[in-house]
């Protein structure tokens, strides 16, 4: 580029003029990623944060799978809930083998030989290496009524023809433990969800009232919560469930127990709601709504609640485990659910004495899903709570 010279021969200062249209905000313009981040909704942000929490994601997937299985329990379980195998009472778990006489057969179980030990009258089962029962997948097995609506025979896994498949052993009536655990998940898992839904509503209403009105209402509710919290939970649960009439149908008892569990759980949520509302009701947008004549109910539900709902859901998910444990403990003591309703607690009720631990330890297996679910809920709730916190 040649420098233009002026008429007097001095060197003129060069100017650079950009041809692009002038945009005064160009520096503040966002890249597409930034834009996506800043415009994302609150839930979107939570989801992104949650995804980075590996343990929480794994726990979430486990929970999803377990809850999914309750939708198709009939298909997942190899046998029906009440099918008895009178020839196989207290049969130990059959282990899955892959090789028979050094030859690959695929997953199979050996048949069981029954033998009554005449000295101590103990039922003894021995694996019979002659009989090989390969597992069948996606097969037709025992007939069931899917959700009590239509009949089907389709199972994920079924025993071989004339064979047995007790992967987790059988109980005192010869019922397959695995199937019973799968069916028990239906009750045990839903009782936590229904209970938490109830206590969620109670917590929001009571905590909302206390936080919004303040004054003596708040004081009264606070004292009430303190008293209820100082009660040892379990004896109170025991007392309340002893109140349930004996002649109630199992289904009614189920709902009764759920209500009882919820009745003693709303306090923590109510406290959280109250403290949040106390803080938020001083905000300008709340005053504005008040001046425009909105009613307390509308202000709470429309303007205040959405501000911390995500946080509430996270803390609610942390109290599901205590409900599941509560149901298990109550049913274990014989105060909760009763057969024919089958929950993990009801199953554990059978493992109540020391003989079981010594002789039939597999009857204690329903505790494994209990532990898994509670751990998963704890980790998932922790992750959710971190994700819901906008300041971290």
């Amino acid at each position: 580029m040649t420098t233009p010279r002026g008429s007097d021969g001095t060197r003129a200062v060069t100017h650079y003029v950009s041809q692009a249209p002038f945009d005064p905000y160009s520096i503040e313009a966002l890249t597409p990623e930034q834009e996506r981040y800043y415009l994302a909704s609150q839930w979107q942000l939570m989801w992104w944060k949650l995804k980075r929490h590996r343990v929480a994601v794994i726990s979430g997937v486990i929970l999803l799978v377990l809850y999914g299985s309750t939708l198709i329990s009939e298909v997942v379980a190899p046998y029906n809930l009440h099918t008895r195998h009178t020839d196989f009472i207290y049969a130990p778990p059959q282990s899955v083998h892959w090789f028979h006489q050094d030859k690959f057969v695929g997953p199979f179980v050996y048949g069981l030989d029954y033998h009554l030990n005449m000295t101590n009258l103990k039922r003894e089962y021995r694996e019979n290496k002659e009989r090989v029962y390969p597992l069948q997948f996606f097969c037709r097995g025992e007939q069931y009524k899917f959700w009590g609506i239509f009949e089907s025979q389709f199972h994920l896994v079924c025993p071989a023809e004339n064979g047995t498949l007790f992967l987790l052993g059988t109980d005192r009536l010869g019922r397959d433990m695995l199937s019973r655990i799968v069916y028990g998940a239906r009750i045990s898992l839903t009782i936590g969800l229904i209970g938490i839904a109830l206590s969620f509503v109670m917590g929001i209403v009571i905590g909302g009232v206390a936080g919004y009105y303040g004054g003596w209402v708040d004081n009264l509710i606070q004292r009430m919560i303190e008293v209820l919290r100082s009660f040892p939970e379990l004896p109170l649960w025991m007392a309340l469930s002893a109140v349930l009439p004996v002649n109630w149908s199992p289904l009614l008892v189920f709902f009764g127990i759920t209500v009882i569990l919820a009745l003693l759980d709303w306090m923590g949520l109510a406290r959280a709601v109250r403290s949040k509302i106390l803080a938020l009701r001083e905000e300008d947008y709340c005053t504005a709504a008040q001046l425009m004549g909105a009613r307390p109910r509308r202000i709470i539900a429309r303007h205040l609640l959405p501000g911390f709902l995500s946080h509430l859901i996270a803390s609610a998910s942390l109290s599901v485990p205590s409900m599941i444990l509560g149901e298990t403990a109550l049913s274990f003591l014989g105060l909760g659910l009763r057969p024919p309703i089958t929950s993990w607690g009801v199953l554990l009720n059978e493992a109540q004495n020391i003989n079981v631990v010594a002789l039939y330890p597999w009857l204690m297996l329903p505790v494994v899903p209990v532990i898994i679910v509670i751990l998963a809920f704890n980790f998932f709730g922790d992750g959710l709570r971190d994700a819901a916190d906008p300041y971290k």
């Binding site: 008293v227 100082s230 009660f231 040892p232 004896p235 309340l240 109540q352 631990v357 204690m364």
Partner: protein, 332 residues
């Protein structure tokens, strides 16, 4: 300080009153009363019912009176140390309960001490070694303890103790020592049996305590005075023990209020499984047979135990923490 104690004691009165009302409502909830089922049971066995005794009992405990009269009667009795009459045992409740209450207090007390001894070092380690493998491992262990149902753990431990140590199954002492006067052998036997319920009940509370201690200590460790101390070259151990740990200690005592209800709850279930001579099994029984005064007294006792425990922890906290003492309020 005196003013604070007086205030707290005064506040306890309405609390206990409300608790007693709740307890009485609950034990009154089932339809009918014990005498009705008692008569029905006797008649079904073909035995004669002494109408005079029934009438006397009904009269004495006012079972035919309306709710508020019965409640007032029961409450007045409580204040005078008369816990009512156990229909099933045919004895005053005080006599039936007696030793069991002492044993419940003993088990709960030892459990809390145990929880502290376990949770304290683990919590400190987890906080000072945040995100290390040790932290993850110990936290996970704590979670497992939280997630395992108490009663099952109790069964398994009982079995193991029997197999490995030859401890007799069930109870809080060897059968030979029951109803014997206290002796050295009996104390040893009680100690041999005590550790199972203590460990079992303690596991669930320990996990929660570790997590809370860790969180509290972490908050404290991030404060500026710690940074300043480190910048000035204070040795790490002294830096930890001098201030942050003392702050965390306060919280430790305040936490009794949080774990006491769960300890007592756990104690009840575990007691049923282990057939401990504490309140658990008997209360379960009383609740099921509508032996209302016995059940009511148990519930009342357990609730008051927590209320008193919280009071004690608050007082200890006030003694340790000047901020509470001077403001006259409770900080959680």
């Amino acid at each position: 300080m005196l003013r604070y104690i007086a205030l707290r004691l005064l506040l306890m009165i309405p609390t206990l009153l409300v608790i007693s009302l709740i307890v009485f409502t609950i034990i009154q909830l089932p339809p009918g009363d014990y005498l009705e089922s008692y008569i029905a049971e006797l008649q079904s066995q073909g035995e004669s019912v002494d109408p005079e005794k029934i009438a006397f009992l009904r009269e004495h405990y006012g079972l035919d009176k309306p709710f508020h009269v019965q409640y007032g009667h029961w409450l007045l009795g409580l204040l005078q140390g008369d816990f009512g009459y156990s229909f099933e045992f045919d004895m005053p409740v005080t006599q039936v309960v007696g030793d069991r209450l002492v044993l419940t207090v003993l088990v709960s007390f030892v459990t809390i001490i145990f929880t502290w001894i376990i949770a304290f070092p683990i919590g400190i380690y987890s906080a000072t070694h945040q995100y290390s493998w040790g932290d993850y491992g110990l936290t996970f262990l704590g979670f497992i303890g939280l997630a395992t149902p108490n009663f099952l753990l109790a069964l398994v431990m009982l079995y193991l103790a029997n197999v490995f140590f030859g401890t007799s199954i069930g109870g809080l002492m060897d059968p030979g020592y029951i109803d014997q006067p206290w002796s050295w052998g009996k104390v040893v036997s009680v100690l041999e049996h005590l550790w199972i319920p203590v460990v079992v009940i303690g596991t669930s509370g320990t996990a929660g305590m570790i997590r809370r201690l860790r969180a509290n200590l972490l908050d404290e460790l991030q404060k500026q005075y710690v940074v300043t101390g480190r910048a000035k070259g204070l040795p790490p151990f002294k830096l930890l023990t001098k201030y942050p740990l003392r702050m965390a200690l306060n919280f430790f005592i305040a936490d009794i209020g949080a774990i006491l209800p769960s300890v007592i709850s756990g104690a009840e279930v575990v007691a049923v499984v282990l057939s401990l001579p504490t309140t658990g099994p008997m209360m379960l029984n009383a609740l099921q047979s509508q032996d209302m005064y016995l059940a009511g007294s148990f519930l009342m006792f357990l609730a008051s135990l927590t209320v008193f425990g919280v009071l004690l922890s608050d007082l200890a906290l006030a003694a340790l923490d000047p901020r509470i003492r001077l403001q006259g309020g409770v900080r959680r």
